[in-house]
């Protein structure tokens, strides 16, 4: 499956930019005046201790919640200027897998494709599942899959989503050594196509073009 993303390199190749973001949860300020810039093909690795606000930052970047102050820009425009256009380019995977347990892996992929308004042929869906070792388990309800296999279904979703920005919360959790390598390769392919990635992880990630943000 080859997908290329339009780049706006004419004026600047900055894809995602955070300007002076501040986040408050309850009474407690989590972080303040946070700025960074992410270019095409780059990966931002957000690190920090538990409770420091990594997930909150990801939710701000995805537009699920609003910052106390500051703004998030997608190709030089505020993400809230046209939020549905932004969401067309965005794949956000939170710490919950959002897979419906009653549906099979294949049905989950197809369901999310229609929800995300992405054309997904049966062939491509089966191919993506097969690539991540789920051949023969396509029609098994996700309920019967192990935690690691569920993450593999998510990897198939990442492959078929055709989004240029991936925001991933702890994507390496529950993965065995081989799956970690497969996910790293998937992310590298995405970067090579001009996609950008923001992820949190406690492990060191062995990817190219990684910027590290310590919270």
């Amino acid at each position: 499956m080859t997908v290329t993303f339009p780049t706006t390199s004419s004026h600047s190749d900055s894809v995602l930019e955070a300007r002076a973001l501040s986040c408050v949860r309850g009474e407690k300020p989590l972080f303040a005046n946070l700025s960074f810039e992410l270019k095409t093909g780059e990966c931002l690795h957000i690190r920090g201790e538990n409770g420091v606000g990594k997930t909150s930052l990801l939710r701000l970047l995805s537009g699920l919640s609003k910052a106390e102050s500051g703004e998030v820009l997608w190709r030089q425009h505020s993400i809230f200027a046209d939020v549905s256009a932004y969401h067309r380019h965005l794949l956000f995977l939170g710490h919950r897998d959002a897979l419906k347990e009653e549906l099979s892996a294949l049905e989950n992929l197809q369901m999310y494709a229609s929800l995300d308004d992405v054309d997904l042929s049966l062939e491509n869906a089966l191919g993506a599942l097969a690539r991540f070792g789920l051949r023969g388990r396509e029609n098994l309800p996700v309920h019967y899959l192990s935690a690691g296999q569920k993450r593999r279904v998510l990897m198939a979703r990442m492959l078929t989503r055709q989004a240029s920005l991936w925001i991933l919360d702890e994507p390496f959790n529950a993965l065995d050594v081989q799956a970690v390598a497969e996910l790293e390769r998937l992310i590298e392919e995405h970067q090579a196509r001009g996609g950008a990635v923001v992820l949190t992880s406690h492990q060191a990630v062995s990817l190219d073009h990684v910027k590290v943000l310590e919270l």
């Binding site: 995805s62 537009g63 699920l64 919640s65 609003k66 549905s84 256009a85 969401h87 067309r88 965005l90 956000f92 939170g94 710490h95 919950r96 897998d97 959002a98 897979l99 419906k100 347990e101 009653e102 549906l103 049905e107 369901m111 999310y112 229609s114 929800l115 995300d116 308004d117 309800p141």
Partner: protein, 221 residues
């Protein structure tokens, strides 16, 4: 496929995989309404008189049983976030969830109503009126109920709170729904009741999807 139909298809597929939850609400409706004739005995005149109220109250309560499920499961597993992050208009997706709830919890009541009505010795014209009021009224129950379901997301003891929030809002539907059947049975014109139920439905259709969408967004923020 339109966003609305996408969501209806998704939710109905999920319901088909977990039939017991839906059947519980329908069995509740059938059993509760069947208990009254058994408990009261063969006083046909009394049964005819209480039929509209009993059937409508049972319909309100059985709709309530299915409401909790409308957003709660998707909220728990993170799917509601993915719905909010969909590039498609969220209000249509939420409207799709409400429509799916009505197809599962409202429409069967309309179809079952004649069978229940016969137990209360209702005549044919009363049965038609009963079905008509349920057809107009149950979508209002699903719509208004969705606000309660969305507002109580993530709240401990949410289902009890939701009942307290929603049941008072169901009163107009109950009054005009049961009133139409009663008016018809005593030979009065019930078209006024139908007009008011229709007005409630239009009003709910026009506003509720936006209100519920806003409530869902607050819940997942």
């Amino acid at each position: 496929m339109s966003p609305l139909l996408t969501m209806v298809h998704r939710d109905l597929l999920l319901v088909m995989r977990r039939k017991s939850e839906v059947l519980t609400a329908l069995f509740f409706f059938v059993v509760v309404t069947s208990l009254f004739p058994l408990g009261i005995g063969a006083d046909a005149a009394l049964l005819r008189k209480i039929a509209p109220g009993v059937i409508w109250v049972a319909a309100l309560l059985s709709t309530l049983l299915g409401l909790q499920r409308m957003f709660a499961a998707d909220y728990a597993d993170g799917a509601l976030e993915q719905i909010a992050l969909s590039p498609q208009p969220m209000v249509l997706l939420v409207a799709g969830k409400i429509l799916a709830h009505w197809i599962v919890c409202g429409l069967p009541l309309v179809i079952l109503a004649p069978m229940i009505g016969i137990q209360f010795d209702l005549d044919a014209s009363s049965l038609y009126v009963l079905m008509g009021t349920l057809l107009l009224g149950t979508p209002v129950l699903s719509l208004v109920g969705s606000i309660g379901a969305a507002l109580t997301l993530g709240v401990r003891g949410g289902s009890v709170l939701m009942s307290l929030l929603i049941l008072p809002l169901y009163i107009p539907v109950l009054i005009f729904g049961a009133g139409a059947v009663y008016a018809n049975s005593v030979g009065l014109d019930s078209s006024g009741h139908f007009s008011l139920l229709g007005a409630l439905l239009i009003l709910a259709l026009a506003f509720v999807p936006w209100v519920s969408t806003a409530a869902v967004k607050i819940a997942i923020e």
